[in-house]
Amino acid sequence: MQSRNSRIGLILFTIYLIVYGGFVFLNAFAPHQMEATPIAGLNIAVLYGFGLIIGAILLSGLYGFLCREKSAPQNKEPRA
């Protein structure tokens, strides 16, 4: 279970790292892009920033859900 949890963790970590890296590099090398307002008058800086925070909450919830799914059958195993 440990190795499976840590594998799921690493996959989700890599996804987040890419999205966070995208934000940081966009800021550093194309800061004017952050000013575009694609949706509802909100600019990329606000959308991407909120996305990163809400995304972190959602990914952590997903991780908790996936880990629980995996550990449940294992707990039952000895009884079987």
């Binding site: 963790g9 008058g41 908790g64």
Partner: protein, 652 residues
């Protein structure tokens, strides 16, 4: 601005402190063993531990610093919110469960779990102390800064007050009481910030000509000839006279006009806004000044500071110049409208310039800068982040380095890591981190509303950006101000108690118990930890008083860089690489710590802010200030190289 003693804040603060100390003494009966003192017997429920993570992590820098930075510059402070939260992803996905599995009281336990090495305990113990002390200084200085306006006490009294309360919390029941203090603080901080945000949205936006003291700043439209003629009228004002340029004002970066009101015999300073094209009219906007006299006195707008006749205080600021479609107010707005409306509005921000006079007095001029909302909601306006708009590659690397340190630093902070030992198993460690991420993430979303709400609240104090959030609350309701102020103060309590406990664990458990090999019974170990808490607390009090006049918020950033460089390589590699050796870990911690500290001490930021050097005369030695992008990989490389050069444990 002069802050009066707020009895309501005192009442709130006293209730919180009294309740916490009572709880600590009551819980103290349960925490007599080292297991209880360092790890609360591993019996803290995961949900409580999760909220306590928020209470531990959301320091004064997060609450006051980020809100203040957003209120004065816009979006930039939110970059810290994003980076601070992203660090929790590393904590959850990589560190949390193994940390619980491998360790007992401190993160050095986890590093040392395969080796039983005194060297690892020594290196990790010293690194814990270094990071915790770096982190403690700004918290203690923050306590002193807060207490002045809220409780009308001098700076040192605030530092001593916080230091004493925290020492009592930690000594009575160690991790048990620390956890509950942090749980309470985390709950109150998130709850009241949410209420404040809701009130900001209900209030909406309104166009104003000044702050909430009712004073309207004047704007004059003149020609260059009007200024030269100086015939007693200017831009619609009568019986006024343009004064010659006084001492010290000859070489200012901005242009100013000193205008004497002949009837009142009072001079007002106006900032000259240069026209876009030659021949256009000049706009003069009213400025404000604070002059520090050589004898320590203060002049505000040329008059002694005070509220009596012939005295002056700074007028509060923070208002909109215009709203979209020429509206004068919006009424309640939705969370998304809040940004789309601000994006199309104009906000009056205030910039400043310092002027030195021959008599050694120093004047800070605050002048208006009308800024489009689209600029406020984009990164790169604050001096710390202006590098992203620079053409210099090193400025961009500095930004990348800071964002990397924030990302890697959280999961390497000793006072956060010890919280993994307070729950019963790995599953609880995971769940509590998820609760932590949800509550901390929710709070960080609110920081953008709180900061921008403060920016347009009409309540900002130009001379103190740390007070943005409490003053925003004051503009809504005095009871809310009292609650937010007391919470800001307890924010310091929660974080400081975590830091002192982490330091005490490093001294008693890692250094004395393991590295130096003192044989101690369980009781003795707890006693040593309590004595260490008192000593570290006393050191924190002294440092908090010594660093009083220094802007120390950047020390939190340094703590993140040192923690990430010294601790993260070992924490990660011991989990994912079986070839790691004892020597590899020790060298990586030492190299990471020394290189990041050395880099910081040789950086432009330290030259300017710590040593007070002029960078034009003494250029910094390292090319950019933030070390992480160099020293974090250096830590990993050192660990890998030394591990490969030294024999595996089985073979040694």
């Amino acid at each position: 601005m002069i802050h009066e003693l707020s009895w309501k804040a005192v009442i709130f603060f006293s209730i919180f402190v009294g309740f916490t100390l009572g709880l600590s003494f009551w819980l103290g009966r349960k925490a007599k063993s080292s297991e209880g003192f360092f790890a609360a017997h591993g019996q803290i429920p995961w949900f409580v531990n999760g909220i306590a993570f928020a209470g531990d992590y959301l320091s004064a820098a997060s609450f006051l610093g980020i809100c203040g930075m957003i209120a004065f510059y816009g979006y930039d402070g939110f970059l810290y919110s994003i980076g601070y939260l992203a660090g929790w992803i590393v904590a959850l996905f990589v560190i949390a469960e193994p940390m619980k599995r491998l360790g007992r009281f401190t993160f050095a336990d986890a590093l040392d779990s395969k080796f039983n090495s005194r060297g690892i305990k020594l290196a990790a113990g010293i690194s814990t102390l270094a990071v915790s002390i770096f982190y403690l200084i700004p918290q203690m200085v923050g306590a002193g800064v807060l207490v002045q306006p809220l409780l009308a006490l001098p700076h040192w009294a605030g530092v001593v007050l916080v230091g004493t309360i925290v020492i009592m919390i930690v000594v009575t029941a160690g991790m048990v009481s620390t956890t509950w203090v942090q749980f309470l603080k985390g709950t109150l901080l998130v709850f009241f910030s949410a209420i404040l945000t809701w009130m900001i949205l209900q209030k909406g936006f309104k166009v104003e000509k000044g702050g909430n003291d009712g004073y309207e700043f004047r704007t004059l439209t003149v020609t260059v000839d009007d200024l030269k003629n100086n015939d007693g009228t200017l831009g619609g004002l009568n019986n006024v006279e343009v004064l010659p340029i006084p001492d010290g004002w000859e070489k200012t970066k901005q242009s100013y006009v000193h205008l004497l009101d002949r009837e009142m015999q009072h001079t007002t300073l106006f900032h000259v806004v240069k026209p876009a094209t030659e021949g256009d009219l000049l706009t003069l906007t009213e400025a404000q000044t604070v002059t520090k006299l050589p004898n320590g006195g203060r002049l505000i707008n040329g008059l002694p500071k005070g509220t009596g006749p012939d005295q002056a205080v700074l007028h509060p600021i923070g208002y909109l110049k215009s709203l979209p479609e020429g509206k004068s107010e919006t009424g309640p707005v939705s969370p998304l409208e809040f940004f789309s409306i601000l994006q199309q509005s104009e906000v009056v921000l205030w910039k400043n310039e310092k002027i030195l006079h021959a008599d050694k007095s120093e004047t800070t001029v605050y002048f208006q800068k009308i800024t489009p909302g689209s600029q406020i909601l984009r990164p790169g306006e604050n001096p710390i982040f202006k590098g992203i708009r620079s053409d210099k590659f090193s400025d961009k690397i500095n930004f990348l380095s800071l964002m990397l340190a924030l990302f890697c630093g959280t999961a390497s902070l000793p006072h956060i890591l010890i919280r993994y030992y307070t729950v019963k198993d790995e599953s609880s460690a995971r769940r509590s981190t998820i609760v932590g991420i949800a509550s901390i993430g929710f709070f960080y979303v609110l920081t953008l509303y709180l900061g921008l709400g403060a920016m347009t609240s009409g309540a900002l104090d130009l001379s103190d950006d740390n007070m943005a959030a409490p003053l925003l609350a004051k503009s809504m309701n005095t009871w809310l101000f009292a609650a937010i102020s007391a919470i800001a103060f307890t924010t310091v309590l929660g974080t400081v108690s975590g830091l002192i406990l982490a330091s005490a664990g490093a001294v008693a458990h890692d250094l004395m118990g393991s590295a130096f090999g003192f044989q101690m019974s369980d009781d003795e170990k707890v006693r040593v930890a309590k004595i260490s808490s008192v000593v570290v607390g006393a050191i924190a009090i002294v440092l908090g008083i010594l660093f009083k006049d220094m802007n120390v918020s950047f020390l939190v950033g340094w703590a993140f860089s040192v923690a990430a460089s010294a601790n993260l390589p070992s924490l990660v590699m011991i989990l994912f690489w079986s070839r790691v050796t004892r020597q590899g870990i020790i060298t990586a911690i030492v190299v990471g710590m020394v290189s990041s500290l050395g880099w910081i001490l040789l950086s432009a930021e330290a030259f300017e802010k710590v040593y007070g050097l002029d960078l034009l005369k003494t250029p910094a030695i390292v090319p950019f200030s933030q070390p992480g992008i160099v020293t974090i990989p250096l830590g990993f490389l050192t660990l890998i190289a030394v591990s490969l050069m030294t024999p595996r444990r089985e073979e040694s």
